[in-house]
Symmetry: C2
Subunit: 375 residues, 2 copies
């Protein structure tokens, strides 16, 4: 049965229906952010200070004198559940891919502020000691983690491998990564103060769903008679395609710096899909005149979930994994540098004075400020 034959179900499946209720999480987030903001003053006792604009950005930045220090902790999310199901169905472990996803969650956020990632720490919390007893799975996790560190040129410092029976479900693992980096020279700092009208928007290609939207993708499986083994038009299965590892973008940002290009702003396209392009707090219009190719797995999810383009682009990355906002004169060279790193890229739009909005002209979509409170 090809994907085309799998007739889409009658009802639309939204992200909220897939099980994440932000209304319950957001009050805690807000009070935590407020409490966290009140602790920045402690740095003064050590002769340092925070970069206030980094509060609300993807990584926290401290001015330590000769350079800035950036740090972050990020969670993989529920993608490991797909790897677990696919291991049952195919007998092979996909934890090498899952490892890369986990590191990508941290690295791709850390680089948005202009940091060079230096050290990654692993957080692998299993539901019991027996998780680590599956040697094939454990070794693919280690191998994938190392390979991702090699790709990004970071040192794997160490980490934690607790067995948390009673907290993590039996047979499952909760994966996260912390990452520390430096912004050096300090001119590389990118927290949005240079963004302005006239800037070009370069989109870096994603490899598929990456590690956001998996709740929806997993929910959808219940509607597919062949489940994760449903073939996509390109011959891969739905499960395999979901498990394409997230692209690591730090080789691109490092190469850009070496080429003399300092982005004015960066946005990692994760949860909330293209609405992440509205992340910057300024009142600016982002006019997209071209869109990247949509990976087959995302088109399939859109069709199966009966989402219109507006809902799909507001939830999934739809082929754009990372956005670079650069000076217009640097736009084509940014694309060239990315492609030399093996990452497809596209000058997709420009920043204009105007209302805070994202216009995706080829699709006739507009997202306004009211479509999302991201920060």
């Amino acid at each position: 049965m090809s994907a085309q034959d799998a007739s889409p179900p009658a009802t639309t499946l939204s992200y909220e229906q897939a099980g994440v209720n932000y209304d319950l999480i957001d009050p805690l987030k807000i009070s935590a952010q407020r409490a966290a903001a009140a602790t920045g003053i402690h740095l003064a006792a050590h002769g340092f200070s925070e970069v206030p604009a980094s509060r609300g950005e993807s990584a926290y930045v401290v001015d330590v004198g000769p350079f800035y220090l950036a740090s972050i902790v990020e969670c993989l999310g529920s993608k490991a559940l797909v790897a677990d199901e696919m291991q049952k169905l195919t007998g092979r472990s996909y934890y090498d891919a899952i490892a890369q996803d986990t590191i990508a969650m941290a690295i791709n956020d850390l680089i948005t502020v202009g940091a060079t990632p230096l050290v990654v720490q692993a957080y692998w919390a299993a539901g019991g000691s027996d998780w680590f007893g599956d040697a094939q799975r454990a070794q693919t996790l280690v191998a994938g983690w190392k390979r991702a560190c090699d790709t990004c040129g970071v040192a794997w410092g160490g980490g934690e491998t607790p067995a948390l029976a009673g907290i993590v479900e039996g047979g499952r693992i909760d994966l996260a990564a912390s990452c520390t980096g430096l912004i050096q020279p300090k001119e590389r700092l990118s927290v949005g103060d240079r963004l302005g009208p006239g800037d070009a928007i370069v989109l870096l290609a994603s490899s598929g769903i990456h590690a956001n939207g998996l709740s929806l993708a997993r929910k959808l499986v219940e509607r597919l008679p062949q489940g994760y083994l449903t073939p996509l038009p390109d011959g891969t299965t739905y499960g395999q395609a979901l498990l394409a590892p997230t692209v690591l973008y730090s080789p691109v940002t490092e190469a850009l710096f070496k080429a003399g290009i300092v982005p004015h702003y960066c946005a990692n396209v994760t949860g909330h899909g293209w609405r992440k392009l509205l992340r910057h707090p300024a009142k600016l219009t982002y006019r997209m005149q071209a869109i990247p190719k949509v990976p087959a797995v995302l088109r399939f999810i859109q069709e199966q979930a009966r989402q219109d383009d507006r809902e799909a682009y507001s939830t999934l990355n739809m082929g754009a994994g990372f956005a670079l906002f650069v000076a217009e004169k640097d736009a084509q060279r940014t694309v060239d540098v990315a492609q030399a790193c093996g990452v497809e890229a596209l000058v997709a739009g420009r920043v204009e004075a105007g209302d805070k909005q994202l216009l995706i002209e080829p699709l006739g979509i507009r997202f306004g400020d009211d479509d999302l409170q991201l920060r």
Copy 2:
């Protein structure tokens, strides 16, 4: 029923019986450590280098030129399960204490290498969005986290609050913290090269079980007719006593530096109890001639689990939460500085040339190198 009346059960309860099987975890740990060690060379491309001696220490250290950068991620472990049970029994949330425990796990490890902790990131992975819907519990978590950051003078940079249904158990939360710090001036680096015969061993008091040994402590509850509400001799309940938050030791290490005292080595006494005093790779004898007061809750656990002193000191901290190895001339002043910070301390022993062993003379206990492979 007082603690004395609770007659100890007939059989000894070891840590392995309490559910953690290191034989399954250790092969993964070793292959992960080997893979991680091979990534240190990446730092050279950025003009930096790792401090090789920090591999195997509690925090990973990178030489970034004007100072050293230290980073870590640490997990709370299963202590949150005690807080959950106690909330059911008493109606009050203990997550303020649990927050401090989580931060202490990261901070108390980070400071062993001589680092000043600067930034903490929160990792709070719940079993579902509804965890965050219990406003009292969520607010105590936020308040305790902030208070611990205030105590340590660190900035709370941000973090992750994922809802991980299907990975984290419903109603539970997996708590971890990452921490980044600087070693400045570089002379503060403490990775053991200065440790030697003649050094004094100063022990800083613990507040109770801290966050290690909880699997054993929880297992024991099944043997107690009154469970967590079993009264201890000092009038608190077993559950309350277990939930005394871990002491944060960074105010002491910061005050020591201001007093001109640079420890030759530090050991955070966590899992494996006093065997952690054997952490340093050198062939040295640690002769303890005094021991700190044992917190009531640890004495109670020892009695109820029918552990002899040797087993108790090899599992639990038994009143010593952190060990400072300092020049003999600095020993008493180290105690004075700690006490001025509100932390009880004791010159407990000295380092001698000889076999690698820990001698706890008041108890006639000897731990040799073969009693533990810690690194």
